[in-house]
Amino acid sequence: MKKLLLGDEAIALGAIYAGLSGVYAYPGTPSTEITEFIQKDPLARERGIRSRWCTNEKTAMEAALGMSYAGKRALVCMKHVGMNVCADAFVNSAITGVNGGLVVLAADDPSMHSSQNEQDSRFYGKFAMIPIFEPSTQQEAYEMMGEAFDLSEKMGVPVLFRVVTRLAHSRAAVEIGEPQEQNGFNPATGKGWVLLPGIARKQYISLIEKQPAMAAAAEESAHNALKGGAAPLGVIACGIAYNYVCEAGAQNVLKVSQYPLPEKKIKELAARSQSILVVEDGQPVVEQDIKAILGAGYKVEGRLTGNLPRTGELNPDNVAAALGAATGQGFPPAKNLAARPPQLCPGCGHRDVYTALNKVAAEYPGARVFGDIGCYTLGALPPFQTLSSCVDMGASITMAKGAADAGLFPAIAIIGDSTFTHSGMTGLLDAVNDHSNITVIISDNLTTAMTGGQDSAGTSKFEAICRGLGVEPEHLHVVNPIAPNMAAITELIRKEIEYNGVSVIIPRRECMQTLRRHSKK
């Protein structure tokens, strides 16, 4: 049976059909649709596959490791920067090893369509010394998910599954197989999971000893295949890059979709070529590594040598140019054209919050508003231009705190509800303990809006969380940011800025997008 699926959906279905028992994830473009698919899939529901959103990527990674400990197959999904959040658990899961199959999916975003950086998750796979799968097509993504679970159980380590935006969010027909049974309940035994130094040293040696088997698996993998025949230029095409290389008609290609790198096949390609062009989306991971395999004397080109752009995603045009193939011309760019950046929806509560904040901030020449990650980051753009920073999940509160420690006044943080529970709570505790002079706005729209309106972990719990962290009740306010209340809210912000300590104001109004969806039902 064939189904038209997004890359993300092919991954989800591949995992369900591989006997998945739980998916653990925090929403993040371009990975969100994987978990959403599993939440709605009839077989996943029938099997009771665990699929609620997690508070952040670290809790997701740890819970998935726990499910693996109990013998079942678990999947963790995140966007690339989520790997930074879960890195502690991720790296150590390679040291403990796994029991049930564990696949960690990282969706990278070269060109930063919806991200703060274009870090390449393959570095994390190398760092943790585990196998990495990187499919080229939706069909391969579906098939490789089952293979990833099998390999994870065979090697006793997690497998990193890396995709990029253009695979995650591209649709194609996928041939679907038959679902396999889920693993039974079979908790691990032994002390290998207790990473005290004495045990961790042994576990680490065991991970090192597994490396040749991982290398052999990649060497034998059908996904790492030499195509065509000898030619002066050899091409190594990783993951989605293979599609662009084929589009340009290259004839002497090693397709790489499973790591560690297949050294024998790389040497074989080198022997039948005079130089090698490495085509990989993201950062020049393979381009750097194959120098160690082929030696300094062999000519290797790619992003580092300028044959391909150093930054930004691959596309059929820059790959064709690097291969010396013909590229199309098209019409010259239009003259009557203006950029159309995204903006906050009409009627969005964040708009009212920014209007009030701007009014008060204008009264203080030293005022800075530290922003965070979500729809409200658009408050950095016209017409509001309120924000001085946006760095990573939760950084608004902690940066405001650090700036206040250095004497900045007033230091204001604005953070969304979902981002607050993801990574803002611990920073608020620091600020409370230090009695920092900051004003925190938790702009609560009752959802994780930016990624399409997923449930937010803290909904209905924010007052209790803030009180529990030690915010003084008289400096904790919940308000409704609608027009008739805005004068009072503006005055409240003014008053709390003047309070020398931690204040939290929670403007709460439902997201316009989820409101529209709810009112349709």
């Binding site: 038209l4 591209s170 059929p316 239009a334």
Partner: protein, 191 residues
């Protein structure tokens, strides 16, 4: 045979429903298909675009190379202009003629129209008014699909019509009929 289509517009205008209908028609016709979409931040009132590739042969790249598109289908005239570097020399543009102005620096409407008209194959109509007159204000994208049908070498119009039937079937016969009416209206417009 292949048809490479760039679908574009402003976030929220419904370009992905056009893509869904074409995808259904392609699947029913046994064609190969790849469709790259943009999700996430840009859907908030920003420019949105989708590359839709249809072919009787294997399709490699999810993205359309520069100068290879056979057709630009746009819900907004300036957005159609944004992608002309991807349009092939004989490619066509099928677009709404009505600007969607949600930015302060939208270029002069006359200049946008003049630049569009200077291109070789352009079909533009006020699809929203046409849909409203047809009694289906939400059917503007189906009017546009009807206008585009003649430019999709891989399909006969009946195949697209049938796909509208299957995509909207769950919403009832009245919705299917209203959308088919909009499609027919667009198809019959003077080229």
């Amino acid at each position: 045979m292949k048809t490479d289509i760039i679908l574009c517009g402003v976030g929220g205008q419904g370009i992905l429903s056009i893509a869904t209908v074409i995808g259904e028609a392609a699947t029913a016709a046994g064609l190969q298909l790849k469709q790259a979409e943009v999700h996430g931040m840009s859907q908030r009132g920003g420019d949105v675009q989708s590359d839709l590739r249809l072919s009787t042969e294997e399709i490699h790249s999810d993205l359309i190379p520069r100068g290879h598109a056979d057709l630009i289908i746009s819900m907004e005239p300036m957005e159609a202009l944004r992608y002309i570097p991807f349009l092939g020399p004989d490619g066509a543009i099928v677009t709404s003629s009505k600007p969607f102005v949600n930015i302060p620096n939208y270029p002069a409407e006359d200049a946008v129209m003049a630049e569009l008209e200077a291109l070789p194959h352009v079909l533009k109509y006020d699809i929203e008014s046409l849909a409203r007159e047809a009694g289906n204000p939400k059917g503007a994208n189906m009017v546009l699909l009807g206008m585009a049908a003649r430019y999709m070498g891989v399909f006969k119009p009946e195949q697209l019509r049938a796909a509208i039937g299957s995509i909207f079937a769950a919403k009832g016969d009245a919705i299917v009929e209203a959308n088919c009416k909009c499609f027919d209206l667009g198809y019959e417009l003077e080229q």
